[in-house]
Amino acid sequence: MRKLLFESLFRRPFTEKAPSTDDAAVTELAVAVGLAARRRLGRSLSIREVDAGSCNGCELEIHALNNAYYDVERFGLRFVASPRHADVLMVTGPVTKNMRDALERTYHATPNPKWVIAVGDCARDRGCFAGSYAVVGGVSEVVPVDLHIPGCPPTPTAILKGLLVLLERADAAATSP
């Protein structure tokens, strides 16, 4: 282990900083998310993820936000274990009838001010699950949604971008008379 840690001390970090052609967008976004989050919430935005019936594809990409390439925590964006600690609910999936109650209760357990981000195509309008007896609808049918991030699933970059849009909107709302 010492060898690995020692190597890590001297190796260039995996976290993407220097913009290469491909990763310029990620880096640009990362900086912008950092600034907006700091203005609004003093460098801390806690996110609670709720799977309201997704296929688990979105969860995989949300997980990826935490890997060293995206390292979402460097911007103060943090995934927390309870809705009571959260500023943002990140909801995936077409809301199934079996999950409706749990989603509502999670929403009510989240303190104000709070935002809801619906992640993925089926969180918007049920996607390919439209028409099923077992599905309520998009997330906005159950709780008010502030932002929707499209994709099936959205890439980690797209999710970061979405967080930025949300922060800007929240910022504008806070500063408008």
Binding site: G53, S54, G57, N67, A81, P94, N98, M99, Y133, A134
Partner: protein, 503 residues
């Protein structure tokens, strides 16, 4: 000992079914099959319903023979398999919830997928109104002094899928765990009914997002078996490439995540980097990080992009260079080994009974791997080994994954080396008469089974059986006697799908 063929001869064979035989049998043959399952001579592959029929797929593991037996249930009931062979229990409960067919004599009549929220009962059979009031779900009892219950979920502390776990504990020790699932039930089999092939393939790829390639692959093979479509060589090899990239990404992710649940974050950080490399290579090569909607009936929709081969090769090189040090780190860290060795033991006898696929079975002495045993193309032309261990603990499930990473690396090398040229998509044939097909494909988590009947180019009925149907019950057995704090560790080492069996 009767063979599966003898069983088939007892019934009326359904001619339009491929590639394995299906026979309509009477109740006595059905019950005979149940007793053979109970004696451990055969393994249960799947059990599913139609409005007035039940079907059961069974396999003789010694000869790799597979067959489907069907029993018609005019009076809406059939002799329970679960009564004799426990692995069938939840499948029977699901059949009841969806079709209203009762398993006669089943020891557990509680609902499974139906939480009384759909506004209707038996949505895929003869619908009736929902119960006016949901009766509380009765968890299995545990009796003894000083026992307490811990209720967890459906919304969990981590970024994971929804499900409820009810622990009964004595102090720190888990006496009983019973999960209640069905929260992610989206009614996929209902949406399948009447869907065109394109839409049905899309739905199949969204049953369990982490196995999107495996599901699409199995669905495509089932359609191709039904319609006798010949897939081009290049498409066959590209499918295996997609499947191995999926396996590689998830195994790498799992190895790190299991260690993370033992609070060893360093492994997680490093494995996540390797996993991300694979996803990025997949994105460059096929235009989607999870390679969704690429495998379709008749072939693949996406050829390997220019530069795809090189970037995949680069990802492999990087894994070959960095992964061995991580395996060494895992193996040489006593505090981590202390958590994983001897924890969450699944006994080989139970693994034989439940026939769980994937690393769960292979860590407990069950050598089944659909790629090897069923040798569907192109795996019949590829060299690889199926690692098997007998310890059945968290450590063994990690080691199976570690070795499978090695096998996948070698498989991808062979595929890239021998990838044939040619078209990647064939046209689907047209059949007016009903045709049936079945396929089993090895996903990263285990074997995915798809059975379907097509009529007029549409899906009449499609059943998708996730490997986790037979894995969840074993997690309950493996956690017994462990401490509550080791549950995340055991759970991650199983990494069962919620969405897959919830459908």
């Amino acid at each position: 000992m009767p063979s599966l063929i003898d069983l088939m001869l007892e019934g009326r064979e359904v001619r339009q079914h491929g590639p394995w035989p299906r026979a309509v049998v009477d109740a006595s043959v059905w019950q005979f099959a149940a007793s053979e399952l109970a004696l451990g001579r055969w393994s249960l592959l799947g059990l599913w319903g139609e409005p007035s029929t039940v079907h059961m797929a069974i396999m003789d593991e010694e000869t790799a023979e597979i067959a489907v037996v069907s029993l018609s249930c005019p009076d809406r009931s059939y002799p329970s398999i679960g009564r004799h062979h426990l692995p069938a229990l939840r499948l029977e409960r699901a059949i009841h919830d969806l079709f209203g067919l009762s398993a006669e004599g089943a020891p557990d009549p509680r609902p499974w997928l139906d939480h009384n929220r759909w506004g209707t009962r038996f949505p895929l059979g003869d619908r009736i109104d929902a119960l006016p009031q949901a009766s509380p779900y009765r968890f299995l009892p545990a009796e003894g002094d000083g026992l307490h219950q811990i209720a967890v979920g459906p919304v969990h502390a981590g970024t994971i899928e929804p499900g409820h776990f009810r622990f009964t504990a004595s102090g720190e020790t888990v006496v009983r765990l019973e999960p209640r699932l069905g929260y992610a039930h989206k009614g996929i089999e209902g949406l399948m009914m009447g869907a065109g092939l394109e839409r049905a393939a899309q739905l199949a790829g969204r049953v369990s997002g982490d196995s999107t390639v495996a599901y699409a692959f199995a669905f495509a093979r089932a359609v191709e078996a039904a319609l006798e479509i010949v897939v081009s060589d290049r498409a066959i090899w590209l499918r295996a490439l997609l499947a191995e990239l999926e396996r590689l990404a998830h195994h790498l992710g799992d190895i790190g995540a299991i260690c993370n649940d033992a609070s060893f974050a360093l492994m997680h950080a490093h494995c996540s980097i390797l996993r991300e490399d694979v996803l990025r290579a997949s994105d460059t090569a096929f235009g989607h990080r999870l390679m969704r909607d690429i495998v379709v009936p008749g072939g693949v929709t996406h050829n390997l992009n220019a530069g795809g081969m090189e970037i995949i090769q680069a990802a492999l090189d990087s894994i070959r260079q960095r992964f061995p040090a991580l395996v060494e780190l895992y193996d040489n860290t006593a505090s981590l080994q202390d958590r994983t060795v001897g924890t969450g033991v699944l006994k080989p006898a139970l693994a034989k009974q439940y026939a769980p696929g994937g690393y769960i079975g292979r860590a407990s002495g069950r050598s089944f791997d659909a790629r090897k045993v069923l040798a569907y193309p192109p795996y019949d032309r590829l060299r690889f080994e199926v690692p098997v261990l007998n310890e059945g603990d968290v450590n063994a499930r990690i080691w199976i994954r570690v070795r499978e990473v090695g096998q996948s690396l070698s498989l991808i090398d062979q595929i890239l080396d021998r990838l044939p040229e040619g078209p990647v998509r064939a046209k689907a044939g047209q059949f007016r008469k009903p045709r049936e097909g079945m396929a089993i494909v090895e996903g990263f988590r285990g074997d995915v089974l798809v059975w379907l009947r097509l009529r007029d180019g549409r899906v009449e009925r499609c059943h998708l059986r996730d490997p986790s149907w037979f894995q969840w019950p074993l997690l309950e057995a493996a956690i017994e006697g462990n401490i509550v704090a080791d549950f995340p560790l055991c759970n991650k080492s199983f990494n069962c799908s919620y969405s897959g069996p919830d459908l």
